[in-house]
Subunit: 337 residues, 4 copies
């Protein structure tokens, strides 16, 4: 940690900062520059947060040198983690496909979806049952009824399941039915929900927030891990930028970057990121080429009739075509489907 | 609503869209362009969401002509709303000051803060008791204990109160102690929480999300209003941009823009937006000049000792100076403090 | 300057960095942290750019402590600069109005515009003659013919003039006719053009680039100053963000921030920033309240017939109304028009 | 084109808009909505720009239905274009590698670089000779001297060449030495320079601007094409977002999106986009998997000594490793190197 002070700071002001650091267990190294005074602090970054140095007289800024996360950092695990969802391992040498509709809409729909995605090798069935919608007038999900039929469909076809949870009651309900819970982009900094899934001891699919930096995303994972749940899978799903031609901008570079910073597996959701059906396949290939551990893809038996996200959902035929294109890419990066 | 279709769409495809519109109560107007087919749909925009037009064959896009919010729109009220918090009216000819520390830290601190802000004419005391922090290792707030001492301090000095709520339990607790609840930027699309405060019949201070468009912000207000609570006050607090010299970019243009679209009052929080003490005063003046109905300002008896947001908190003296500068600006826009 | 190195760096790698610093005239201070090695370098930041430290083995990053600009920094002038354009001083106790049409379109139009803006107290006439347009099929400006009639109109009404230049030939032409040249947002990092206006010894209005950080903007000013031209006036005109309700997001906080970093005057262009006529007046008031030294406003005798930027241009009557609203705000910040 | 008008617009106001459209050769279709009046205009989008409809009384907005570019649109070519640079075809079934140092620094350096990249199958040598640098105090390039030695080195190893041009004089000089000229990100909307390269009849590598939308990027290409030069190659190089962990955010989704909108080839520059050496390889694989026609990669014989962009430059060994990883990906998308 580097504390930068104004060159005009008085000696008592500088001494006060050094004293605060040293009484808190840091070693302080004073560097008198030409236009700035710099204090290097050696110690635990997390501890420095409670010191309030940034508000002290003379202090211009505090520059972090270390990352603020610990449990989810690469160093913590000394390598890469594998998270197990049902019988499926995520984070190893297999590229895992999670697929299914944006929302569970009916028994027929979810059974057809489960059959279609299973046929192409997907291991986990996705389906929204508690839907966070921008408009209060949009379809809000089938809730527990949806979970029941999704569970049955998944069982029928030998798939594990994931659904998004949006608050404590929906989490409690979901835990009775699904193998993994998902924290959506809009709740990535809903810290109470993060703490609750941290206590739940069930794998968590943590989507990156729309405007979350990679550091904030890993800090959200740290919230979950700090409650004792290390089974966190990160999912890049596009960030909000000025570009309006796609719904969001899929940050493919986040895949190798996060994998160099953290031991957690990284998935990619090309459907939500782009919002455009024709881009789902090329972005899937790109994600796997860049090192993604798996994909989260919206597949609907009849996209034209979907209650949400129709424009980006693949039909079963389109999903089959995507998987065919994916196979040689998976082989090229020395993995298997 | 304008539905844009590919010029190569077949007649049955076009007919299907028109039929879907007409059976749902819309009038459809077909325009055959040179390179696109366009269908103008006259009817209720909210209803169109459930039609799934964007997923239909041939459809390139659906262009909204109307805003998607109703209850919070300017037209709904035929003018401007006044929201009453305790005895204080927000949205009228007075510029309302809400001030206090980022977090309630101790009895001494909150009483000193209450005294200081009251002295300068603030009407409402702010103080965080449930803190959403980026790091799980940061101070998380005094919770109910903090609410109790804030309530007592406010009573002592004749102030109303506001605190942030972060989930259903904290909302239940807060409702016992405060005059207004705040939805923070990170929870602006926590739709369950929005619905809960919508049912609570207590004024709500709704901060704009870090990366929320103005339309999304008004849709969040619509969530609250659609549950029957029309006492919503909007608060602009800076948006996330590429600029790193300030914590966020305060979108001052949102004030007049939102006031032209909605009847709700608009406040500004210059402290969180900039993260820099020296910018709080000029941004306060700018906000009032642009039409803000009030300000939300962080004031701490001793900013150098603040447990959070020290760098942007004003001391009582700095707050006094700000109010002195504000007085002629308030008069210039024909309002009073 | 702080050089951050991997804790696993070898001693020779660390020594190499220290040696490179010391042979280049820096003092190097080594701090062995728990998880990082940090080297504090005391010396001239500009010089460090040529060392290529970031590419050296073991180096994780180079963290600047000082700003990279010198001539335009606040310290360089020991205060605030005043730039004189014709007889008008910008940067002192007067708020200067620069107004006129987006583009010079005809003799009648520019004379009417000049008369209208002069009547309301504007000191400088603006008018585009070399137009950088997104589409090659849009009106590209009247070029020298436009400059001639703008010069004549300005002379008739006792106004100084400013026009945008887009390359070396247009600069040469403009220098024959106008009192100040403008570098537009799209050319803010056209470094050859910056060097050319730096050699031209004519006041320069330097607009902030659409996506330029404040540091990059000041570095663009440094380019001009480093060629010997210190008469630079900065102009904030909105930055590109995710928000699409306004054309750009006017960064009002940039005004006090830049004035704390640099001695140069700062103007604001609310017309281009918002792209919406109804927002021009409130943003003008906000800008002056936040400390702007003046405003750049699009005024057209008949906005409905404007060849460019009609939606944001004010009519003479609207401009008069704006000035009436501005008068008490200017007085409130203890300045005069 | 859709013109949206206020429901309170008077009949003469509506008639005026319709009249303006019809006298300009458009068919106008009036739709009276519940809360808006909408006019569908059938005709040439480019022509509508000169009408100034957005400034007319009652008009709320003009919504484009068609793209504003023509010559570079997919429809214009009825397929995909191949651009020939020297003997190398770009846009066909081969993935083309363009590689070399950020800047030409010396004869030894550029010969070593040329040898290294040729060995791995690169077809075109890149090297900056006119450098647009953020700081006026940074190395600005070897200019014509650099072009001479780059041309000689390229000839020695049988490579074509590309260099960036920054103004008209540098273009004139570069045309004597290189096979392709590059327009950098900062000059993407330097319209005079675009027009000049449009007249030059030499292939142009057009980088996407830091904050350019895809539409603006294609409009920049349209500027070049409209002057008669159809040999334009687009190059995605990262856009500016809020994320600071990478220098820019590489927009991989732009590759398939642009290829669906335009017939022009699309390359990717992973070096500038990320600014991080370790991300160059995974982003290269991702780009090719997503359909890129080639890559632009910074390779330096000794990155630790590079005068610019050392942190992102690959050594010859790292470049060799990248190419080895690339080979199976290229095969997977049914192309060849």
């Amino acid at each position: 940690m580097i504390i930068v002070m104004d060159i005009k700071s008085s000696k008592p002001q500088v001494d006060l900062v050094i004293e605060k650091l040293e009484t808190s267990g840091f070693q302080a190294h004073l560097i008198l520059g030409v236009k700035r005074i710099v204090i290097g602090a050696v110690g635990d970054r997390a501890a420095i947060y409670s010191l309030g140095l940034e508000g002290m007289p003379g202090v211009i800024g505090v520059v972090p040198i270390m990352h603020p996360y610990k449990l989810v950092s690469k160093e913590a695990a000394g390598g890469t983690s594998i998270v197990k969802v049902g019988d499926t391992e995520i984070g190893g040498s297999k590229v895992v496909l999670i697929a299914g509709p944006c929302a569970v809409e009916s028994e027929t729909q979810i059974y057809q979806a489960a059959e279609a995605v299973k046929k192409q090798g997907a291991k986990i069935l996705r389906g929204g049952t508690f839907k966070p919608r921008t408009s209060p007038y949009s379809f809000q999900g089938m809730e527990e009824e949806g979970l029941k039929i999704m569970q049955a469909a998944a069982k029928e076809y030998g798939l594990a399941t994931v659904t998004e949870v949006v608050d404590l009651p929906s989490l409690d309900t979901a835990l009775e039915y699904v193998d993994m819970v998902q924290i959506g982009a809009r709740n990535m900094q809903n810290f109470r929900l993060l703490q609750a899934v941290g206590k739940a001891k069930r794998p968590v699919l943590l989507k990156r927030g729309l405007s979350a930096t990679i550091e904030e995303w890993l800090m959200a994972a740290e919230y979950i891990a700090s409650e004792g749940n290390a089974s966190v899978i990160l999912c890049e799903r596009g960030i909000r930028t000025f570009e309006t031609a796609t719904r969001n901008t899929l940050d493919i570079s986040a895949i190798p970057l996060v994998k160099s910073l953290s031991h957690l597996p990284v998935l990619v959701d090309p459907s939500h990121a782009t919002g455009i059906r024709a881009l789902v396949a090329p972005m899937s290939l790109a994600a796997v080429a860049a090192g993604a551990d798996g994909l989260l893809i919206e597949v609907h038996p009849e996209p034209a009739k979907a209650l949400c996200d129709g424009p980006q959902s693949l039909s079963p035929d389109e999903f089959e075509k995507l998987v065919q294109e994916l196979i040689p890419i998976v082989a090229a990066v020395k993995k298997t489907l």
